[in-house]
Every structure is written in C-alpha cells, then in structure tokens.
C-alpha cells in the first residue's frame, strides 16, 4: 500500500481530534475523506504528509513511517496541496511552477502549464489571476511533479464549474497514467463520487463508514453520495 494508516490518534490542545483512524490507499487508487468542518480531515492529511506527529497508531507512506527520519527521503515522492493555499503574488505562473519543481528536483514545467490551462497567461504575475486560476495552477504544478503519492485538501475549492471538471479529469487521467496514490478531502460529494475509488466518512475524529461510493449509496439506500453521507451521520 502506498498509504497505510492504522489506529491513528491525535490530541490537539487537550482535545482528541483523531480517534482510531484506519485506512489505506494503493497505487493507482483515489481515497476520499469527507465529513463536516472540524471532523479531522485536514489533520489526517497533515499526519499523512508528516506535518503532524501522531500520538498513537501508525502512518506509513511508501512503506516508511512518517515519524522515521527516513521519511525525509520519501518526501520527494509525496506532494501535498493544503486547503486555501495561494501561490506567490509577484511570481509569474511559470516562475511558480519552476520554483516548486526546483524543490522536488523535477522539470515538468510545460506539462504543468498545459494541465493548468493558463495558456498565454503563464507569463503574467499570479496576482492578476482569478482565485480559480490560482487553484488550477497549484493542482497542475503538483500533478506534473509525478510523485507517487498525492495528498489534496479540497483540490477544486473556488474553481468554477468548467475548470473544476477539467481539473478532475486531469487528476483522474494522471492517476491512471502514472498509478499515483491519491488521498483527498472534499466537501463536494459530486467530486468525491466522480474521482474516488473509496471513501471514508469522518465525523468527530473517527471514520464512521468506509467503502466505494456506489456501495455506500446502496448501503444507506441513498440516491447519491450526499444523501448517503447525511444518513451515515445520523446513523453514527
């Protein structure tokens, strides 16, 4: 498994924000975490990329424990898109891609710019971009890194419908082409339903139910994932 989380516990400021979180993501799979605000999705993602140290349980990425010093070497194969992250205003789109790819020792700038759909705007300063363009630039930059693991927190938040669709397709085809393991969190059930092979519904720091989107819909007798999610919360 590319990502293996077993019995993850985390306390922040005296409060248990993650309780016994367990899931795994294989190569070429997309696993989605959905849940209400403050449920623990972002903390889980941060734990997977080694930004938050688990208080209990185990988080392994590409076979290495994230608390192990060897994980520093694994980071080159893990890309993380934080929620609400914004690229630097005074760099151009191209310069931003070059900067991030430079950190990872990659040089797939043209691929990133193509995925971003920025076209002739790649030479303009980021501050002239719309919020949606900035998000597309970020997602495209990380996709083109071709890391083996991709962790995305709300990848299409703030992106208009047509570009969000294009980004989802880019993510899906990227996963199929390069067998990337993707862990993402989203409030957009349509997105989760379209992208994810497996979904973990998180509430109050726990995964209350897990399965393929279609299985979850069937299990709760729901017409769509959104309805399944609401029923799952009531059931929990």
């Amino acid at each position: 498994m590319a990502i293996n989380v077993v019995g993850l516990h985390k306390r922040i400021g005296g409060r248990e924000v993650l309780r016994d979180i367990t899931f795994s993501v294989g190569a070429g799979q997309i696993y989605g975490l959905v849940g209400p605000n403050g449920a623990g999705k972002t903390t889980t993602l941060r734990a997977v990329v080694g930004l938050v140290r688990p208080d209990g349980g185990k988080v392994e990425v590409l076979g290495v424990d994230v608390t192990d010093r060897r994980f520093d070497h694994v980071r080159r194969d893990v890309a993380y898109l934080p929620e609400e992250v914004m690229p630097y205003d005074n760099l151009t789109g191209r310069e931003f891609v070059e900067f991030i790819h430079g950190l990872y020792g990659r040089d797939n700038v043209e691929e990133a710019l193509e995925i971003s759909g920025l076209g002739g705007r790649a030479g303009d300063k980021v501050k002239t971009y719309s919020r949606g363009m900035k998000r597309r630039l970020l997602v495209a930059t990380l996709l083109a890194l071709r890391t083996r693991v991709l962790v995305l927190d709300e990848p299409t938040a703030g992106v208009d419908v047509s570009h969000a669709v294009a980004l989802r397709e880019a993510i899906r085809s990227h996963v199929e082409a390069y067998r990337v393991a993707v862990l993402l969190s989203s409030h957009n059930m349509l997105e989760v339903g379209y992208l994810c092979d497996s979904v973990g519904m998180v509430s109050d720091g726990r995964i209350i139910v897990e399965g393929a989107p279609s299985d979850l819909e069937a299990r709760f007798g729901a017409r769509n994932l959104e309805e399944a999610f609401v029923k799952a919360l009531r059931w929990a």
Partner: protein
C-alpha cells in the same frame, strides 16, 4: 456610527484581540519608562559636574598661579596636591595650574591651565564648560589686577583632558567617541529593524498564503528553510541599508567642504577628525555581525508564531525594537553607572565597544564578539529545537486549540 468609523473600529478591535499585537503595543509603554527611571536613579547624580566638588592643583613656581588658586578657593574649589587623575576619584573636576604658568604669562608667550574631568556620558559632555567659564573669569580678574591690560585670548589656553577608563582624551576624541557610539547604535538599530521587517514579510506572507505548509511537506528540511529565510532577509535588508548608506555617503561627501569652512584645504583636517570614528566603527561592524544573526533568530521565532502577515508585521519589528532600543538609553548613562548586566546585554555592545576602544581597551571587542556569537548560535539552536512543522502550522499553545481540525 459612520461607515468609516465602523470599518476603523473593526480593524482596531480585531488587531487588539491578538495577544501578541496587544503585548507589542503595551510592553514598550511599561518597559521603556522603567529602564529610563533605572538609569536616571543609577547614573543621574554622576552626570552633574556643576554640583560636584572642584579641586585645584597649583604647581606654579610664580605668584600668578597662587593668586588664581586662592581666587578659585574663594569660589568653592578645594586646593589639593597630587596626581590630578587620582583626584578625579573624589572630585568632579580638577584644575591643574602647571609649573611655568607665571613665567609664560610674564614673557607674553601665554600659558595653559589644564582642566581634567571624567567622561560621564553624552548628556554630561558639555557640563565642564561651566568650570571652563569659572577658570576664565578668575584668571581674567587676576591678570588685570596683577599684570595690567592683557588679552585673555592670547594669555590663557584651557586644555581639557577627559578621563575615560585609563586614558585621557582630548575634546576631539570625545566628539569622535560620541559620534562612533551614536553611529554604532544606529547601524544596529537600522539593521535589526530592517531585518525584522524583512523577515516579518517573508514569513508572514508564507503563513498567510499557507505556502509554508506546502513547503514544509516538500523535500525541504526545516533547517534549510530557516537558512534560506535568513539569507534572503539579510540580502534584502543589506540592499535596503546599502541604498541608505550610499545616500548618506553622498550626503557626507557633499557636506565635507562646507564642514571644513568651504575651503578644499580644510577637507583633510575634517577627514582626520573622522578617522577616530571610522576606527571605532570597524569594531562596531565586527560585533554587529552576530547581533544581526541573533536578531534574525528572534525575528523568525516571533514571525513563525504569527498567523498572518499583519500580525507578523506588527509583532516582529516591535519585538526587535524593544530588544534593541534600551541600548539607546544606556547611551546617556555615565560609564560608572553601567553595571555588569549592561555588558552582558548584547545590543548595548555597539555602544559599549567605542567606549572601550577610546578608553584603551580594544580587547573588549573580542569578548563582545564571543558573547554575541554564542547567543546567536544558542538562539538558532533554540529555534530549531522549539519550532517544528506541527507548532508552526497548528500553533497549539497552553492547552488551547488554535485551528480547525
């Protein structure tokens, strides 16, 4: 309430609800007066040459010296014998009448009376002028009574010797000392504030845009990130200070002929006068290097705790200013009033180093350099140990959760 007022009120309320912003505003209001009171209580009386006792040492073989001594004694000076520099331990000023005083006057060659005072800080620099006036008044009366019409300007020179540590400085040297101390302090103040502002923007922007989270998850170690931020901030601050320095240099060069009385022949003399300042400033620059690094470490520590750019911009320069500014208050204190704690206070070193250099103890620079370097290293080690990705991103403090899970 008008719309503008509503907007202003929101801004102020929002800013003041941040404990760090509030602290950075309130702490100076408490700390600075306390420091000023401390210095005033410790060193105030020493500033006062006027009120201190004056000794007069007459070594003149002739009658005029004795007459001047008696006149001074009638005005409150104590006749004394011995080494005038030692007498400064008990007296605020010592007037020394040399052996050939009468002879010089009678022969029309003129004579010198030496006035010895202790260096008592920048505020006391002009106080001995009162004693000088007393000497001129008394000598003028004695000469008019005993010698007849004689030009005091031609007959009497007053040579002022200002004791600092073990050295007697001339007035020019004291001017250079004050200039070097002031420049030293401002070099460190400008460097520190420029650096802290640069770091506040660099780190605050990363945090506000959440890019720091992305970078910390990338294959970039925290140590490397700190080194990069340090280097970029120093480069930006150096560019800023370089531009100011170049402007100031042009200003001084343009002004030099005017300072020398408009004649180009006077320029070398002015330049000579600056040599003392430049020599001391070399020492200042040496101790500034570790202080700059110390400032960077402290600025990074504060900036990494700030949630956004505005908080970083308000708290980082304020914190650094608070650390540096008390050194300026020491500038006004007499050296005797400075306790050992002042010598351990790193940001006082750019002021204390010229004092020691002019006082004949240039080795102090090495001690200051060692102490400041050790502090800078400790600060960076502390930063590395205290700060980690979790603390930077989640910012948990005293059992409170600061951010959504």
């Amino acid at each position: 309430m008008g719309l503008t007022a509503i907007l202003v009120l929101k801004d102020v309320r929002e800013a003041l609800r941040d404990r760090r912003v509030l602290g950075s505003i309130l702490i100076p209001a408490v700390i600075l007066p306390v420091i000023a009171l401390g210095i005033s209580a410790g060193g105030g009386p020493l500033n006062n040459v006027e009120g201190a006792a004056i000794a007069v040492v007459n070594m003149d073989a002739g009658a005029l010296g004795s007459e001047v001594e008696r006149s001074l004694a009638r005005r409150g000076a104590d006749p004394a014998r011995g080494d005038p520099l030692r007498l400064l331990e008990r007296y605020g000023a010592v007037i020394y009448i040399p052996r050939n005083f009468t002879e010089g006057i009678i022969r029309g060659e003129g004579a010198a009376i030496r006035l010895y005072v202790k260096y008592r800080g920048v505020l006391a620099a002009g106080r001995y002028r009162d004693v000088e006036g007393l000497i001129r008044g008394v000598t003028s009366t004695v000469l008019s009574e005993r010698v007849g019409a004689v030009s005091l300007e031609d007959a009497l020179r007053i040579e002022v010797g200002i004791l600092l540590e073990d050295r007697v400085l001339g007035e020019d040297e004291v001017g250079a000392l004050i200039g070097a101390s002031a420049l030293g302090f401002f070099i460190v103040l400008f460097a520190s504030v420029a650096l802290s502002a640069s770091i506040a923007v660099a780190v605050g922007t990363e945090k506000e845009k959440r890019m720091l989270e992305l970078l910390l998850a990338a294959p970039v170690s925290f140590g490397r990130l700190i080194v990069a931020k340090t280097a970029s901030s120093i480069i930006l601050a150096a560019m800023q200070l370089g531009a100011i320095g170049a402007g100031f240099g042009i200003y001084v060069v343009t002004l030099l002929p005017a300072l020398a009385g408009g004649s180009t022949g006077g320029v070398p003399e002015v330049a000579d006068g600056l040599q003392g300042i430049v020599g001391a400033l070399v020492h200042v620059v040496v101790v500034t290097v570790p202080l700059v690094l110390l400032t960077v470490a402290i600025s990074l520590l504060v900036a990494l705790r700030a949630e956004d750019l505005r908080t970083a911009q308000m708290t980082v320069p304020n914190t650094v200013f608070l650390l540096v500014f008390p050194a300026f208050l020491l500038y006004f204190a007499p050296p005797e009033a400075l306790g050992n704690a002042a010598y351990l206070y790193p940001y006082a070193h750019p002021f204390l180093v010229p004092l020691k250099v002019f006082g004949g103890d240039p080795n102090f620079t090495a001690l200051a350099l060692a102490l400041d370097s050790a502090l800078a290293v400790l600060a960076f080690v502390g930063l590395g140990r205290y700060m980690n990705a979790e603390r930077i991103i989640i910012g948990v403090r005293r059992g409170r959760r600061r951010e959504g899970a």
